[in-house]
C-alpha cells in the first residue's frame, strides 16, 4: 500500500501527489483507506480524488476491449463506494466515467452517421430523450453495502445480495440483465441507437452482465494495435482510440469540477438584488464564491449560521480569512485564494444556529450549500440545513441550493437514515466530561436530509432548475445501466 511518507497529514493533496509515482492498484488501496479514515471527506475533495484515480486507471488499462474497461472501472468504483458509501459523489464520478466510456463506444457504433465528433460528456444523450422517466435506482443499498455491512461486494455476490433483498424484487430483472431492462422503459430510442441490438446477444446469463456493445467491432477486427490507432485517427469508425477519448473525457470532467464553482458564481447577479439579507450556513466555497461574485456589483447583508458543532471552525475561518482551515493546512501556495466576503464590503453577521427562526422573518433569501443532491430533488446537507429550510418555508422565504452537477446523484432516497452520517460525540460534549458522556447518549448527526418541497431552486453549473426537474439532469448525466455499480 502506498503510504504517504511526507510529513503532511494524509489528505487530498498528498494523495494526488502520490498518484504520480504510485502504480494504480496501490493507489486504489490508498484512496480506499483515505476514504475509510475520513481523511478525504466532503464532496469536492472526494470528487477530485476519484477523477484523478480513474484517470490513472484508464491510463494504465491494457487492451482495447471497452467491456473490459467498463468492468475494470466498475470494479474500482465498487470498492471505492463501499469504502465510504455516504460519499455519494464518489459513485457519481465513477458513473460519469462509465458513461463516458459507453458514449465513446456508442459514437463509434453509430460511426456511419457521425453527428458530433467531440466526445461531449455533459450533453444529453439520444437515449434519454424519451418522455419516460428513466429507470433509476430506487435505493442506495443497491450499490452501497450499507445494509449488508461494509463488505466489498464481489462481482458475483452483488446479485445474491440484492436477490435476498425483499424490497428490490421489482427491480430484479434489471439487475440480471442490465440493458434489457432498459428496453421496456424506452424501446424506440434504443433501437435507434443500435445499443439494444448489440446487447441482445448478451442476454445469455453470462456472469459479466456488462454491455458488450463492442462485441462485433472487436470480433471483426483482428488488426494490430498500430493499425487500430491509425484507423482511429482517420476516423474510420470501425475502431477507436478508446483510452484516449475516455481520458480526454475525464480531463474534461476534471475541468468541470474546477470550474463549476465559477460557473455557478457567474449567475449570482441574477439572483441577488441590492440590500438583500441572505442567510447561509457552513463554510462552503461554492456559496462563498457565489456571494463574492455578487458582492462585486451589489451591496447586501449576509447572515451566517455557524453550523456548530461540526463546521463552525471552518465557518469562522472562512469568514475571517476567506479560506478553510483544512485547505490552509494542505498547501499554502494554492493559487485558489480569494478574499473573504468582509473584505468585499459585505456586512456579515454570524449567528448561532438557534437564532435561525428568530432572524428568518427578516431574511430575503436562504442560500444553502449541499453535500449531495438526490434525484428526487431532495438534498443531503450539513446538519441544521433541514431546520433552516423548514424555517424558511414557514416564513415563505425562498431557498436556493447551490450545487455542482457532480454532486447530483441518481439515488432516490427511500431510506433516508442510511444517507446520514453520524459524527464523533466528542464534538458535542468533550470527552473530558467523562461522567456525562458515560451516562447520556450524545448524538451528533453530521448531515440532514432536506426534502424537495422545502427547496425552491437549484443552481448548478448548468443553470437554475426546479427541484422537480432534477431527475432529468440525472438522466442526462448517468446511464441507467451504470446506476447499479
Amino acid at each position: 500500500m502506498a503510504g504517504a511518507t511526507t510529513t503532511q497529514a494524509p489528505g487530498l493533496s498528498t494523495f494526488v501527489k502520490s498518484l504520480r509515482t504510485t502504480p494504480v492498484d496501490p493507489s486504489v488501496e490508498h484512496l480506499i483507506s483515505l476514504l475509510k479514515r475520513r481523511q478525504i471527506r466532503n464532496s469536492r475533495p472526494c470528487a477530485i480524488a476519484t477523477t484523478a484515480l480513474l484517470l490513472r486507471v484508464v491510463g494504465e488499462f491494457k487492451g482495447r476491449d471497452a467491456a473490459k474497461l467498463i468492468e475494470r472501472i466498475k470494479q474500482v468504483g465498487r470498492r471505492l463506494t463501499s469504502a465510504q458509501p455516504r460519499e455519494v459523489v464518489v459513485g457519481n464520478i465513477v458513473r460519469r466515467v462509465l458513461g463516458l466510456v459507453r458514449e465513446v463506444v456508442d459514437e463509434h457504433a453509430e460511426g456511419q452517421t457521425p453527428t458530433g465528433s467531440e466526445p461531449g460528456h455533459a450533453t444529453p444523450h439520444a437515449h434519454h430523450d424519451s418522455l419516460h422517466r428513466p429507470a433509476l435506482n430506487s435505493s442506495m443499498s443497491t450499490f452501497s453495502p450499507l445494509r449488508h455491512a461494509v463488505v466489498e461486494p464481489a462481482h458475483s455476490s452483488v446479485y445474491l445480495d440484492n436477490a435476498s433483498d425483499v424490497s428490490e424484487t421489482s427491480r430484479r430483472p434489471l439487475l440480471l440483465t442490465s440493458h434489457t431492462s432498459y428496453a421496456p422503459t424506452s424501446s424506440a430510442p434504443l433501437v435507434n441507437s443500435l445499443f439494444g441490438l448489440f446487447s441482445q446477444p448478451a442476454d445469455t446469463p453470462s456472469s459479466t452482465g456488462t454491455p458488450t456493445g463492442q462485441t462485433s467491432p472487436t470480433g471483426n477486427s483482428t488488426l494490430t494495435a498500430l493499425n487500430l490507432e491509425r484507423l482511429a485517427d482517420l476516423h474510420r469508425g470501425q475502431t477507436l482510440d478508446l483510452k484516449g477519448e475516455v481520458m480526454e473525457g475525464i480531463r474534461e470532467l476534471q475541468d468541470e469540477l474546477e470550474t463549476s464553482d465559477k460557473q455557478i458564481a457567474e449567475v449570482a447577479l441574477e439572483h441577488i438584488h441590492a440590500n438583500e439579507i441572505i442567510l447561509t450556513h457552513t463554510a462552503s466555497t461554492t456559496v462563498q464564491k457565489f456571494l463574492l461574485f455578487a458582492a462585486r456589483k451589489r451591496k447586501f447583508t449576509v447572515v451566517h449560521a455557524e453550523t456548530y458543532p461540526h463546521d463552525h471552525t471552518a465557518t469562522h475561518g472562512i469568514l475571517l480569512t476567506g479560506k478553510k482551515r483544512e485547505a490552509n493546512l494542505d498547501d499554502d501556495e494554492d493559487d485558489d485564494k480569494w478574499k473573504p466576503l468582509i473584505d468585499a464590503g459585505i456586512q456579515v453577521y454570524v449567528i448561532p444556529d438557534s437564532h435561525v427562526f428568530a432572524i428568518m422573518s427578516r431574511v430575503n433569501k436562504v442560500i444553502l450549500a449541499t453535500h449531495t443532491v438526490l434525484a428526487n430533488g431532495g438534498l443531503v446537507a450539513a446538519a441544521g440545513a433541514h431546520m433552516i429550510a423548514k424555517a424558511a418555508k414557514e416564513h415563505q422565504t425562498p431557498v436556493v441550493v447551490l450545487s455542482g452537477v457532480y454532486k447530483l446523484s441518481p439515488v432516490y432516497p427511500f431510506d433516508i437514515d442510511e444517507l446520514i452520517e453520524h459524527g464523533d460525540a466528542g464534538g458535542v460534549v468533550p470527552y473530558d466530561d467523562g461522567e456525562f458522556v458515560d451516562k447520556v447518549d450524545v448524538v451528533n448527526p453530521l448531515y440532514d436530509y432536506v426534502p424537495a418541497d422545502l427547496v425552491d431552486l437549484y443552481i448548478t453549473n448548468l443553470g437554475g432548475h426546479a427541484p422537480s426537474y432534477l431527475y432529468r439532469i440525472v438522466a442526462d448525466h448517468y446511464r441507467s445501466e451504470d446506476i447499479t455499480l
Binding site: I277, T301, V303, E306, T307, Y308, P309, H310, H312, T313, H316, G317, L319, L320, T321, K323, R325, N328, L329, L341, I342, D343, G345, I346, Q347, V348, Y349, V350, I351, P352, D353, S354, H355, V356, F357, A358, I359, S361, R362, A383, G384, H386, M387, K390, A391, E394, I420, V428, V429, P430, E435, F436, K439, V440, D441, V442, V443, N444, P445, D448
Partner: protein, 496 residues
C-alpha cells in the same frame, strides 16, 4: 481560590449596610486597573506602561485605604472572578438560598467578556437589532450607585455572568434579596415608608439589576406586585411591623406563585407522560426538570431527549441531572434537532414568558424545535407559572429581545481551534501584527481579529418568540389551556 473569596462574600453581603462614599472610589480604581491590564496587547506597549503605572497607583491607594472595609473582600472577589478565566464556575458557592440551582455556564468564555464590552459598542449596531444595543451591559461594580445594597450588587453580577439564569430563578433570587434590602431599610425622617421605599430606595436597586441584565418578565411582574403592596401599606403602621409584613408577603408570594404553582404544574404535566413516551425538551427549565423527575419517581418508563445549543449549554446541566437520577437521556445540539424530533412523541418546554397573544417567549431556539415538532405533529406542551404571563404582545423575536455580548459566542475551545489561522491573518494585516509572532498565541487574540474585521459581526440574542400555532397546550397552576387563553388567565391571576 476564587471559591474562598466568593464564599467570603456571602456574609459580607448579608447584614449591615454602611454605604460610605469611600467604598466607591477604591472599587472604581480597582475596576479600572483590571480593565486596563486586560486590554494590554503587546502592540500597545504604551498603553501597557500606562496601565502599569495606574496599577501601581491603585495598589498604593488601596493599601492606604482601610483594609477592614466591608466591601473589601467583595470587590476583590469580583476582580478575581474576572482574572480567573479558566476556573470553571461550577464550584462557585451561591450567597443566596435558591429554590433552583442556577444553571451554570459551562462555557468559560463568559468570564471574559467584561473587559471588552465598552469598546465593542460602536461597531456592533448592526442588522435590525440595533435598537437593542442601547445600553451596555453592566459587568462590574464600576459606576453603581452608592444607594445600591451590597446584596443587590452581588445579585447583579450573578445575573450578568449567568450564574443565576432562568426567569423563575432570577425572580426568586431578586425577591429574596429584596427581603434583605427591606429588612435593612430605615425610613429617613420626614418620609413615609410607602412612598420612600418604592421610589427612592427600591428604585436604584432595580435600576442596577436592570443594568446588569434586562429584567425578565417575571421580575417585572414581581416588582409591580411588590410596589403595589408597599403602596397599600397603611401609613399608620409602625415601621418595624410594616417591614415584617412585607417580608412575610414576599415569602407568601414565593410560596404561592412559585413553589405551590410548580408542584401543581408538575403533577399535572407528569400525567401527560405516558409509559414509553419519548419526551423532547429544549435547553433547561426548572419546571420541566421537576416534571421529568416526578414522572420518573412515579414509575413511568419514558426517555428524554434534550436538545441544547451554544453558548449557554443549559441543557447539559439538565441532561446531567436527569441521567444522574436514572433517566435515559439522549443529548442533541440544535443542528441535530431534525433528527431528534423524529424519535420524539411529545415536546415539553419551559417558558421565559407567555405573551398575551398566545406566543411563547423563551430561550432562543425554542421556536425552531417547536416548528419541527409541529411539522411532525407532535404535541407541544409549555409549562409555565402564571407569574410569567404578561400583558405584552409580540409578533416576532426582533422588536423585543435581549442581546448578549457577541464575545460569548465563541468559547475558549473554539477560539483555540481558530488560532492556526493566525499566519493567514498576519499576511493580510499590517506589520504591527508581526510583532505578535514571538508571543504565544492567546485565545483572546481571536476576539481581537473579529473586532478588527470591519464588516464581521457576531450577533447573539437570548430569546425568540414561538408562534402560538406551534403550541398545543399551556400548563399552568390554573390547569391546562390553549395558548389563546393566556390573556384570560393573566387577568385572572393579577386581579386576585
Amino acid at each position: 481560590m476564587s471559591d474562598d473569596i466568593v464564599a467570603e462574600v456571602a456574609p459580607a453581603t448579608e447584614p449591615t449596610v454602611t454605604t460610605s462614599p469611600t467604598q466607591d472610589s477604591p472599587a472604581t480604581a480597582n475596576g479600572d486597573t483590571a480593565d486596563a491590564s486586560k486590554k494590554i496587547s503587546p502592540a500597545e506597549l504604551k498603553k501597557q506602561k500606562q496601565a502599569e503605572k495606574q496599577a501601581k497607583r491603585a495598589q498604593a491607594k488601596s493599601s492606604t485605604s482601610t483594609p477592614s472595609q466591608q466591601q473589601g473582600p467583595f470587590k476583590d472577589g469580583s476582580k478575581q472572578q474576572k482574572d480567573s478565566k479558566q476556573t470553571p464556575k461550577d464550584d462557585k458557592s451561591r450567597p443566596l438560598p435558591l429554590r433552583r440551582r442556577p444553571s451554570q455556564t459551562n462555557a468559560p468564555a463568559m468570564k471574559e467578556q467584561p473587559e471588552k464590552k465598552p469598546k465593542k459598542e460602536p461597531k456592533q449596531a448592526g442588522l435590525f437589532f440595533g435598537h437593542l444595543y442601547s445600553q451596555p451591559k453592566q459587568q462590574s461594580l464600576v459606576g453603581a450607585s452608592k444607594d445600591v445594597h451590597p446584596a443587590v450588587l452581588a445579585l447583579g453580577l450573578q445575573y450578568s455572568s449567568y450564574a443565576i439564569c432562568g426567569s423563575t430563578a432570577r425572580m426568586v433570587a431578586m425577591l429574596l434579596v429584596f427581603k434583605t434590602v427591606i429588612e435593612a431599610y430605615q425610613t429617613p425622617p420626614g418620609n413615609s415608608l410607602a412612598r420612600h421605599l418604592t421610589s427612592h430606595h427600591l428604585g436604584p436597586q432595580i435600576e442596577f439589576l436592570k443594568s446588569c441584565r434586562p429584567l425578565s418578565i417575571s421580575m417585572g411582574n414581581a416588582i409591580r406586585w411588590l410596589k403595589d403592596i408597599i403602596i397599600k401599606i397603611d401609613p399608620s403602621t409602625p415601621e418595624n411591623e410594616a417591614k415584617r409584613d412585607l417580608v412575610e408577603e414576599i415569602d407568601i408570594f414565593i410560596r404561592e406563585r412559585v413553589t405551590a404553582a410548580d408542584r401543581l404544574i408538575r403533577d399535572l404535566a407528569a400525567t401527560k407522560i405516558q409509559p414509553g413516551d419519548v419526551v423532547l425538551t429544549y435547553a433547561a427549565s426548572s419546571i420541566v426538570e421537576e416534571t421529568f423527575l416526578h414522572a420518573h419517581k412515579s414509575g413511568i418508563p419514558f426517555t428524554v431527549i434534550v436538545v441544547d445549543s451554544k453558548p449557554l449549554f443549559e441543557g447539559k446541566q439538565l441532561a446531567r441531572k436527569l441521567a444522574n437520577d436514572g433517566l435515559t437521556v439522549r443529548y442533541y445540539l440544535i443542528t441535530g434537532a431534525s433528527h431528534a424530533v423524529k424519535d420524539a412523541t411529545k415536546v415539553f418546554f419551559g417558558a421565559h414568558a407567555m405573551m398575551s397573544n398566545g406566543r411563547l417567549y423563551s430561550r432562543v431556539g425554542t421556536a425552531l424545535v417547536s416548528m419541527l415538532a409541529n411539522a411532525h405533529s407532535l404535541p407541544v406542551i409549555v409549562l409555565c407559572q402564571s407569574v410569567k404571563f404578561t400583558e405584552k404582545v409580540a409578533l416576532d423575536s426582533i422588536v423585543g429581545n435581549e442581546v448578549a455580548p457577541a464575545e460569548e459566542l465563541l468559547s475558549e475551545a473554539e477560539r483555540r481551534d481558530l488560532l492556526p489561522l493566525k499566519s493567514r491573518l498576519a499576511t493580510a494585516k499590517n506589520d504591527d501584527k508581526s510583532t505578535l509572532e514571538d508571543i504565544p498565541a492567546d485565545t483572546t487574540d481571536v476576539l481581537k481579529w473579529i473586532e478588527d474585521a470591519k464588516n464581521l459581526h457576531y450577533l447573539q440574542v437570548l430569546y425568540d418568540v414561538t408562534p402560538a400555532e406551534y403550541i398545543n397546550m399551556v400548563i399552568t397552576e390554573y390547569g391546562s389551556l390553549p395558548p389563546s387563553s393566556v390573556p384570560v388567565v393573566h387577568r385572572l391571576s393579577t386581579n386576585i
